[in-house]
């Protein structure tokens, strides 16, 4: 592994640490006062500093150092993490992220901003209120000045970059790890007795690796009991003779200690005793000669030529070696273990409170270090695999079809074998798709920063609440989600939320809330962005639409239809164009990006209470469960997720409405009947509904329509082939696929067809669908 690769891994780890940092700070901001949260935040910055020092990234080191010093004050309860303090820290986290990006990709950072934050952090560390920002801060925000400490108000003059204590940014060396040592004596201490049985070794576990992992939890000293060791003649080389007495000081808890031995617990005797503060100390209960364990054990991490310990939390690097030896038996279940541990961490975050979370996260981390289930794979390789599996699915379908055609009674063994093949193919496909699935968390976290920055610029006070960050979706979808989401968040803060004084006047808290949630719903991912602002000013939207000739002056639009007008190109109600939004390029771009992903976007707004944008996106862009139908001699595929039910209409339930419209009566309610063949211009006149089948579909707007098709052929999973990429966009058609018999079938764009049924022609759909 060359230096660049190690550096790349460092940056990847930085991303993880930065995410950890941000989520920890946000938890603190939400009132979480668990010491483990503070520790996690501290560790994140400390790790970045450590790694950056090893690579000589001085800017990063010096900023992280100041940041870490201030965090240490929080950790040691010298500084109360008030909203004001956390605001500075969140901004510092942003700068730290910028510095990391610059270190990786080049470019430059806003020096003035980072210098200002260094001053603010230093002031906080000294127990002063942060010095006034050099850059004009929004006056309107006027948050309540929170007294940071009992100290006198901050000196107005900005503190010098080199502070009173003469701090100068210095390059980091590993000796600096002593930074944590000051407080080591305060850490909880544990005595551990570890007696491996011979089975531990025969099952492929290795005591040295367990001890190494244990030593990473804190300061450790050890005594090896060799009393049972016989001479060479009497010994069996594969029998366990050594046992250990260990003292460790760690803030990670007993669970973390035990989880180190997770894969070996049946094959060893393990006693973990938490010591009271008074008992803590070298060899407290007996006088065994305890030998201190060296801090830097990176040389044991499997890469003999690796640079000396990039960072202490470098489990990922070491994990590959650990996995090979420590968890051979557990290797196949490793990913499950990790997932379970991760799930446990998430679950307990919700129900058991932060303390349990910390322990569970520790477990997850430990499971990761013991089992190392991850590898980094080039995305191209995964995509190639996905394409090939797609071809396999098509091929398998074609094979099945030709066997069925030649096997009239359908009982031949080939036929049965093919069914198994079909299931296997499906499983392979699901597994391959799962490789690409990623949680939406990174995108959501980016939004937190967007909100902070826009709140600063607009002078509004905003809180971003996120839910369901661990919801997984295909990476392509995630990558393309960031841009529309950023647009929408900007709009929500800039247009949606009112200024604090206006909010107070309306009886709302001064701080506005923007909520971002993700969840799975019937095979799709639904992302909701809501704000508790003023809601859409429908009168103004309507007037604007009339002024721009988007609608007729006497058009009779429902509230929902008016709200959806904001998705029109060139539509903006902002009286003045601001830096953020209001150029009228926002929401139509958002809608188009979402549609390009095969998604739908919808808005619902309550005047005075805010707006909710709902995006529904496919989990993957590669396959689709569809109902294969015949319409005017053509084979079409209707996405299964859109279909509520299918029914065979009888003449009595069909009613005419106006000149051309027909309704179908379903369980005492009327639903418009849409002839797909007519809408797509497959035929000139409407077909007789009684001769066909009605598919009851639900469009994202919530309305139901009965789509008339001639017949249902069956239901199957199809591989999506983009029409845009291979041909061109066809109105009413979402994509194409290849059927078992080798023919191309078109996949119906249900929403577009529903919109067209409302009187808009499909050709205009791209510009006017929004109004539907």
């Amino acid at each position: 592994m060359d230096m660049n690769e190690i550096k790349e891994i460092f940056f990847q780890e930085c991303e993880e640490q930065l995410a950890e940092l941000e989520s920890g700070l946000l938890r603190l901001n939400d009132g979480d006062r668990d010491p483990e949260t503070v520790n996690a935040v501290f560790r994140a910055v400390h790790s970045i500093k450590g790694g950056a020092g090893a690579f000589g990234l001085d800017d990063l080191v010096s900023f992280a150092h100041v940041f870490e010093t201030t965090l240490d004050c929080v950790r040691s309860n010298k500084l109360e993490p008030t909203q004001e303090v956390l605001k500075v820290m969140l901004k510092s986290a942003d700068v730290l992220a910028d510095l990391t990006n610059v270190a990786r990709d080049g470019g430059s950072v806003d020096q003035a901003r980072s210098a200002q934050l260094i001053r603010e952090l230093e002031a906080l560390a000294k127990g002063e209120a942060p010095p006034a920002a050099a850059t004009p801060a929004p006056v309107a925000a006027a948050p309540k000045a929170a007294p940071v400490a009992k100290a006198a108000p901050a000196p107005v003059a900005a503190a010098p970059l080199v502070n009173d204590e003469g701090f100068m940014p210095v390059a980091f060396s590993f000796d600096d790890f002593g930074g944590e040592e000051e407080s080591v004596s305060d850490l909880p201490a544990y005595d551990i007795v570890f007696k491996p049985k011979s089975e531990l070794y025969t099952k492929g576990n290795e005591a040295t690796l367990l001890l190494r992992d244990l030593s990473r939890l804190g300061e450790m000293s050890i005594h090896c009991n060799m009393d049972n060791l016989p001479g060479l003649d009497q010994m069996d080389p594969e029998t366990a003779y050594f046992s250990w007495k260990i003292s460790i000081k760690t803030d990670k808890g007993e669970d973390a200690i035990r989880s180190v031995f997770e894969f070996a617990e049946w094959d060893c005797d393990l006693e973990v005793t938490a010591l009271d503060a008074g008992e803590a100390g070298e060899g407290s209960d007996d006088d065994l000669p305890m030998q201190p364990v060296p801090f830097d054990l990176s040389v044991l991490d499997g890469e003999p030529d690796a640079p000396i310990g990039v960072v202490e939390e470098e489990e990922q690097l070491a994990a590959a070696a650990a996995a090979q030896e420590a968890a051979v038996a557990a290797a196949e279940t490793a990913s499950n273990v990790l997932q379970m541990a991760g799930n446990a961490a998430r679950a307990s975050a919700a129900d058991k409170g932060a303390a349990a979370t910390a322990a569970a996260q520790n477990n997850a981390q430990q499971a990761a270090s013991a089992a190392a289930p991850t590898i980094r794979v080039d995305l191209d390789r995964v995509d190639r695999l996905i394409n090939l599996v797609g071809e396999l699915v098509i091929n398998q379908a074609m094979l099945s079809q030709s066997v069925i055609e030649n096997d009239s009674n359908g009982v031949s063994s080939i036929n049965m074998g093919l069914e198994e093949l079909q299931q296997l193919t499906r499983e392979i496909q699901d597994s391959v798709m799962a490789i690409r699935a990623q949680p939406v968390k990174p995108v959501f976290q980016r939004m937190a920063r967007t909100v902070r920055e826009i709140a600063d610029i607009t002078g509004k006070s905003v809180r971003l609440v996120t839910e369901g960050e661990n919801t997984e979706v295909d990476k392509t979808v995630i990558d393309k989600l960031a841009e529309p989401l950023t647009h929408m968040i900007r709009n929500a803060v800039d247009h949606g939320l009112e200024m604090p004084e206006k909010r107070l006047a309306a009886g709302k808290p001064a701080e506005g809330t923007v909520k971002l949630t993700a969840k799975h719903r019937s095979g799709r991912i639904v992302i909701e962005l809501s704000d508790d602002g003023a809601g859409i000013n429908r009168e103004r939207v309507r007037q604007k639409a009339i002024d721009n000739d988007l609608i007729a002056a006497d058009a009779n639009l429902s509230d929902e239809e008016i709200d959806n007008l904001i998705f029109h190109a060139g539509f903006s109600t902002a009286e003045k164009v601001s830096d953020l939004s209001g150029r009228g390029v926002g929401m139509d771009v958002v809608k188009r990006s979402i549609q390009a992903l095969g998604g739908r976007i919808n808005i619902s707004s309550k005047p005075g209470h805010g707006s909710v944008f709902t995006m529904s996106l496919p989990l993957t862009l590669a396959v689709l469960d569809g109902m294969v139908v015949t319409v005017a001699g053509q084979t079409l595929v209707v996405p299964l997720t859109a279909i509520v039910e299918t029914l065979q209409p009888d003449a009595a339930s069909i009613h005419s409405f106006g000149a051309t419209q027909r309704l179908i009566s379903i369980r005492n309610s009327f639903c418009p009947l849409v002839d797909v063949g007519r809408i797509l211009n497959f035929r000139a006149t409407q077909a007789n509904p009684v001769e066909g089948v009605a598919l009851l579909v639900e469009s994202e707007g919530g309305g139901q329509r009965a789509l008339m098709v001639d017949a249902i052929q069956g239901q199957r999973q199809v591989v999506i082939k983009s029409l845009e990429a291979n041909y061109t966009h066809v109105p009413g058609i979402a994509a194409a696929t290849i059927l078992g018999d080798g023919r191309v079938a078109l996949i119906l764009d249900v929403d577009a067809v529903v919109a067209a049924s409302r009187g808009q022609s499909l050709q205009q759909e791209s510009s006017l669908a929004a109004a539907g």
Partner: protein
């Protein structure tokens, strides 16, 4: 080159001394009994507890035989592992004269 003293043998340890190596190491040491032994652990990249056990049992037996059992050179990985698992080999290190 012939050794100055017929009774002095040396043993160079393999880079990887994992669980699979314990038996082999044991056999090698058994074959060297009765001789002054100088062990070269400079190539060791990884050593497991079982092999350390074998080496320490060896040291014990050599001591009983009143023969010298020393490590001439040790790698960083070897030293760190013994420190990690609390096995002190300082007294077995060859003294420079």
């Amino acid at each position: 080159m012939a050794a100055k003293k017929a009774a002095q043998k040396s043993l160079s340890l393999a880079p990887v001394l994992d669980l699979n190596e314990a038996n082999a190491l044991h056999t090698k040491l058994m074959g060297l009994r009765g001789n002054t032994l100088v062990i070269d652990a400079s190539a060791v990249e990884r050593v497991g507890a079982l092999c350390v056990q074998v080496l320490m049992a060896g040291a014990k037996s050599w001591e009983e035989d009143k023969q010298s059992f020393t490590f001439a050179k040790v790698s960083d990985a070897f030293t760190k592992t013994t420190q990690l698992i609390g096995v002190n080999i300082d007294h077995l290190m060859a003294k420079e004269i």
